[in-house]
Every structure is written in structure tokens, then in C-alpha cells.
Point group: C2
Chain length 430, copies 2
């Protein structure tokens, strides 16, 4: 019998909100937010949406009014009592009170700041300006909203059986990937797929499939809301945003050269253990490690997020040996464009030589490749980055020149300061 | 686990259509439509919405855009194969092929004609003009749409538990009514509540409750779609519309005086048995029966739809006796503003003296009285009537002057022609 009250309730919604919680975001955003709140609270930043896959005409696919409704909805959100309790009371990596009372007091009052949205050709220009600790929290919801609105636009054209079979196929695909991963001994893998997920419900389904399929090999999810709802570990450390903004604020070449290490010095004071993970590729991994102070070699591990991942890991292993560290005790987290084949390959090559861990993102939570005509549900490379800090442009080089960003003259200056030479271009899929 | 495909499907709907089938209408409309199609296919009529309860500000409650969407949706409907099969193949009152192949061929091609909608003060002016057989089919969907949009407008302000408890209370109320009706011996009762239902799903629920609660005492529903879906008898005969339009077309007082009998003469040729039910009150029951030809006394029964129902039934019983008919074999159908008390009372008074039957309408399918603040879900008296035929105004007198309609001079003329004197005014609740 139809539950009339529930049906009436479901049809009362003016919109179907995509992001319904301020902690429907990556754990590392909250960690970084607290660090910024403590160390650089008065920095003004601009974040901007960048669609690297320009053949996906976002402004043709997504209605501007619907996009505004979703963004406006996020601005109505505030931290709920239960969310605050979870953040205040939870144990992260075995540490209690990861978030300080001062930060939590601030976060409980937070509403996300205004956005600027404009259609330019077949793309949207979407920017956020204001105090760094506020603006930075737009990144993940903005990306998740645009990704899911794009999914909805494509799904809109599908009939009922087509939808049912589409999800049946996608579920089968995820499950078969998970079955293959079961064969990898001592695998450690987490969900990093919030920002470019097909939809919230789909990410939630994938996380549950990972838990059932992989058991203890599944170490958790970067998504705080899902971690809270599903009683999982929230996973994450830090990202390029910190060295990019610190570097933009540097007033001399000397200060610029020191900026990425200043970031980690601040981090070193705040965190220990599993949170001491180096992200070395912002201005070239090799140069970064060569110039690194010795105390950094004592950190727990490294995250390999661009360039050839084998080369990145080998570079790190060599560096640890040079600095007198035992690589077998070090953690290497692979998180760039992973799918099962790459995970299997990296696992085979590095397991035992270092402690290996995987942060599986877009191809876990948004692999609908080949499932609809013209591949209109294929994932694509959408990012939302800090592009300016206190009026000065940011720069990212990374280990893949196709992921570089910033004004040309600044890019050249950064290459000179950080001693980056020729780089190998790799295709950016997601 | 959330069924993602179903959820995506549910949220794809641009609107939640209220009327989704051309047979989501009263059975008697289809019977009358066939009669009109055969006898008066070229008559042009105007139907108009009339809100007798002017304190309900429909235009303030219901968004004009949503109303247009719903009306436009009805205009996209056509008879489906299954609906046509049901109409062509079903047995109605034991008779096969109730609907002729010629009528069904026409009906299968039918789309409802355009509507005219205008806001006037806090009410809507909603009219339909065109060939009678087409325009007449707007009555029930137009009423059902406005009633349900009004329900939705009120429900929109209710929270989730309020909705759940609202329906829990309404269900309990309907069920308790049904329990009381179980005590009435040899009860015969049908659902006549399509036009002023709270919602389609609610009518469907009420019908199922009647079936389970009353068993064989529940004789069926006037709603063809529900009759088809639930494998029930479709119930109905004819309505005021026929004598009103025939009368408006009459070119002299003599022709006018004969018009209501012309209607039944046409009906007499087309139908027998349970479909030969007199609706005598259009221009006053007493005068109508006094002047009736003898063959009409041989009909199966009478429907009492306005005025004091006991007086109406007693008048009919006297009339049958005067014409040498045995009232105990005659059917009296009560269908005006029924609720349990009135049903119990009428049953007690007439059961055994005549064959009694009840057509329970608005207070079966829309009794939410007292369940929300300010009684904003209370049923109200909304009708959609033929107001003109071939450019001439229609008139209805009925046995309750508060249900009278038509231009004043014409009302006086009709009163004179049909010998209607003083009438007792009764409150029109629904």
C-alpha cells in the first residue's frame, strides 16, 4: 500500500538538495581549515572553478537557476549539534580533540560566504572570495554540486528501465573491482571520491560496498558525513592549497623557496603520526625533497598525487635512504587517478618495500564510463582551486605540466626558484 | 538500502500529475458522453468552474502556473489500449458492450479541448467551450485537479510528523465510519467521491478500505480508473447536465416543459435496468414527477440529490403508489452530502420500504475536517457546470434554492414553466 504521508512529504521539496551538511566534505579540508584558522586567518583568497575537460559544456548541460538553488542551499547550512558532537568527540587516528574548542566555536557559527556565478560561453565562471578559512570550505560542495547536476542532466533523458539497468551495471562494475582488490594481501585503501562523485547516494553506496567487500582492508572514507553516518574512520591529511597560498604570499624569491617548508613546519607543530604526510609535488617532487630540511624525513609518509606514481614513490624511497630513514616503515599514499589495474600494479611493486596505502577517488565513485550513449556520464577533470591570495596569483606546477596553473611569468619564476626542469606530460583523465 | 534508480526516477518528474488517465473520471460522464455523442453531438456548450464556498480563496492558495501545468497535462492524455479494452470488454450492470464501437472509435481519438483560465480577485475563472461530448469530459478532472492542488497548498506547510499523523487520523476516521456502517443490514453503498477528493491516492485508499471493511455491501466506485485497477464495478447513471442543456436548447415554453422528459426518453431507448434511474430535481422533484409520463414510473429507481432527502424519497414513494407501482421493488439512491449519521438515519427509515442505495461522495474521500489549524483542509462546494448551450444560458433550480443557478429572468421563467413555488433553503456543505 502506498505510504501517502511519505509520498506527500517527498513531493513537497522545492529542490532535491545535493549537499545537505557542512561536513559532507573531505576530512582534510577541515584539518586544513583549522590550520589556516590558527595560522593565517586574515588572508583573503579567491577560489575558482576550473573545468579542465572543456569538451564538457557545463553551462549547456546545467540550468543556471538550478545551480544557483543548490549553491544557495549550501549557504543556508550550518553545523548541526550532532555534527559538532561528532567532530568534538571523535577519535581521529587515535588522537582525541583533533579539533580545538576555539575552532569548533568558530565553525559552529559559520555560514559559507557568497559566490559569484556567470556564464561564459558554454562554461560557468564560479568564484568565491573572502577570508581563507571560510572560502576554502566551498571547494568540495561546489564540485560535488556541479558533478551531480551534470549527472542529473544526463539521467533526465533516461527512461525507467534504462535507469534501473544503468545502476545495475554500475553496481556490478564497482563490485567486480572490489572482488579483484580482495586478492591483494594486506591492502589498505580508502574512499577519496567525494568531490567528483556521480551523486551523494552513489558515493554512499560505493562506501558500503567497499566495507562489505573488503572488510578491514577498507580503512575509511574522506567524507566526514558518510564516516559519521556509517561509523567509519574519516581519512585525510593536507593538500596543495596550503603551499600554493603560502607561496603566493611570499614577498621575495627566498621567502618563496621557503614557503612550502613553512607550511609543513606549521603542520609539524599541530599534528603527529599519521597526519604527518608530505605532499611534495606542488612545485616538483624531486627538488622539494632535495632541498627539504632533515626533520621532514622523520615524517610518517608521503602522498603521490601527480606525475608517474612509480617514479614518485622511488624518488621518495631513495630520499629516505639518503636521509638515513628506513623506507619499509614509511607510508606511501597513492591518490592520483587510481583504478583497479593501477592499484594492482603499484601494490605489486611497492608492497613490502614501503607501507602502501591508496586513496581511491573518481574512478571509485564515478565510473559510469561507457554506460550511456556518447559516454555522457564519463567523469571529467573538474577542480576548484585557490587562484589568488591577498590579491597575488597562485601557482601550481605539480609533476605533470598538464596540471600546472598560474600566470605564465609567475610559472616561469616558480620553475626557476624551485629548480624545475623538463617534465613529462601525462594525460589527465580525472 | 536506498533504491537509487527509483529515487532518481521519482525526482525526474517536472510535475506530479494529478489526473493521469482519461478514465480517472465518473462512470456516468462516460455514459452521458455516449448519449450526447449519439443524440446531440453538434451542440456547443460552455462549462464553468463555480466555487460556491467563496471564503476559500482559490487563487491565493493555488499557483496559476501549477494549475496550468496540471490542466495542460490532462490535454496530453489519450485513452490507452488497456483502458479502451476495459471499456470495450467490461460488463456493466450485467450488460456487455455498454459502449458502442462507434463511440469507442471516437473516444480513442479524443484529446480534451483548450481551456480558458483567468484570475478574478481571489478566485479563478476557468471555462471550457466547444462540442458538448468533448467539453463535458473536463468537469471531473478540472474539479479533481483544483481540489488536490488546494490540498497540496495546505499540506505544503506541514512538517513530516504532522503529515504522518494527519493521515493516521484521517485513516482512523474513515475506518471508524466504515465500522459503523457494518452494522447496517443489507447496506448497499458506493464511492461517488472522485470530483471533490482530497487526492487521487486518498480516494484509492478509501475505496480499498471500503472493500475490506464492507465486503459485498460495497457495490463499487464511480471512478472508472480505480474500478479498472481494483477490479470493481463502475457505478453511475446520469446527471443534471442532460436536462439543463436540453432545456437551454428548447425554443418555446412548451418545448422547455418537455425537455427533461425528452432526456429520459432518449435514455430509455439506450439503457435498461439499473441504468434507468430518474434524477428528478433539476427543476423541482414534485412538479417533475406530477407531470411525468406513465412509462417513467416503470423505471428502476430514482436518485435523490438535493433538498430534504427524506421528503424526496417520500415524494417518490407516493408517486410510485399513485402510478400503481410497488415501491418495495424500486431503488432509491441517496447521493447528496452524505455522511455516516445521514446514511444510518436514511437506512433506518427507508430500508424495506424501498431498495435503498447510497452514493457516498465528498465526506468519504475528503473528510479532513478539523484536522489542521483553521480547518484549511475542510471540503468545500466546488462545481463545474454547463452554463450555456448554443449561446443560451442554462438554468438549474434543484430542490434547494442555494444550489440554483442561471440568469435571474431565466430562473423566474423556469420556475413558472415548471410550477416551482416556495423552496426550503438547506446549507450546502459540499
Amino acid at each position: 500500500m502506498t505510504d501517502i504521508a511519505t509520498r506527500v512529504w517527498n513531493h513537497k521539496w522545492k529542490i532535491d538538495p545535493i549537499v545537505r551538511s557542512l561536513i559532507d566534505t573531505d576530512f582534510y579540508k577541515l584539518l586544513m581549515c583549522q590550520s589556516v584558522f590558527r595560522n593565517r586567518p586574515d588572508t583573503d583568497v579567491t577560489f575558482s572553478l576550473i573545468n579542465r575537460t572543456t569538451r564538457v559544456p557545463l553551462a549547456d548541460l546545467i540550468d543556471e537557476g538550478e545551480l544557483r538553488e543548490q549553491l544557495d542551499h549550501v549557504r543556508t547550512l550550518s553545523l548541526t549539534r550532532g555534527e559538532s558532537t561528532w567532530m568534538r568527540g571523535n577519535t581521529f587516528y587515535g588522537k582525541r580533540q583533533m579539533f580545538t574548542p576555539a575552532f569548533m566555536d568558530w565553525f559552529e557559527q559559520l555560514r559559507l560566504p557568497p559566490y559569484h556565478l556567470e556564464r561564459v560561453g558554454d562554461q560557468y565562471e564560479l568564484t568565491f572570495e573572502g577570508p581563507w578559512p571560510q572560502v576554502m570550505l566551498w571547494e568540495i560542495p561546489a564540485l560535488a554540486i556541479i558533478m551531480e547536476l551534470r549527472s542529473r542532466a544526463v539521467l533526465h533523458d533516461l527512461a525507467r528501465f534504462e535507469l534501473q539497468v544503468l545502476y545495475a551495471r554500475a553496481m556490478t562494475r564497482v563490485w567486480e573491482k572490489i572482488q579483484r582488490l580482495r586478492d591483494l594481501s594486506d591492502l589498505r585503501i580508502a574512499d577519496f571520491g567525494t568531490r567528483r562523485r556521480h551523486s551523494f547516494l552513489w558515493q554512499d553506496w560505493c562506501v558500503q560496498a567497499m566495507r562489505e567487500g573488503l572488510g578491514d582492508s577498507f580503512t575509511g572514507t574522506s567524507n566526514c558525513l558518510i564516516a559519521k553516518n556509517r561509523d567509519l574512520e574519516a581519512i585525510g591529511t593536507n593538500a596543495h592549497e596550503l603551499p600554493m597560498v603560502y607561496s603566493a604570499l611570499a614577498r621575495s624569491d627566498e621567502a618563496l623557496a621557503a614557503a612550502p617548508y613553512d607550511v609543513l613546519a606549521d603542520w609539524h607543530e599541530e599534528h603527529s603520526g599519521n597526519l604527518r604526510i608530505i605532499l611534495p609535488d606542488t612545485y616538483g617532487t624531486k627538488g622539494f625533497l632535495d632541498r627539504a630540511p632533515d626533520w621532514l624525513a622523520g615524517w610518517t609518509g608521503i602522498r603521490v598525487d601527480s606525475g608517474d606514481p612509480e617514479e614518485g614513490a622511488e624518488t621518495a624511497i631513495r630520499w629516505w635512504r639518503e636521509r638515513g630513514e628506513d623506507p619499509t616503515g614509511k607510508l606511501v599514499i597513492f591518490s592520483d587517478g587510481l583504478d583497479v589495474e593501477k592499484i594492482e600494479h603499484l601494490h605489486a611493486r611497492f608492497q613490502g618495500r614501503v607501507r602502501v596505502s591508496f586513496g581511491w577517488g573518481t574512478l571509485l565513485t564515478n565510473d559510469f564510463r561507457g554506460l550511456v550513449p556518447e559516454d555522457r556520464l564519463a567523469p571529467f577533470s573538474l577542480v576548484c582551486k585557490a587562484v589568488a591570495a591577498d590579491g597575488r596569483p597562485t601557482v601550481k606546477l605539480s609533476d605533470n605540466p598538464r596540471k600546472a596553473m598560474g600566470p605564465e611569468a609567475e610559472v616561469e619564476r616558480y620553475k626557476r626558484v624551485f629548480g624545475v626542469g623538463e617534465q613529462v606530460a601525462e594525460e589527465v583523465v580525472v
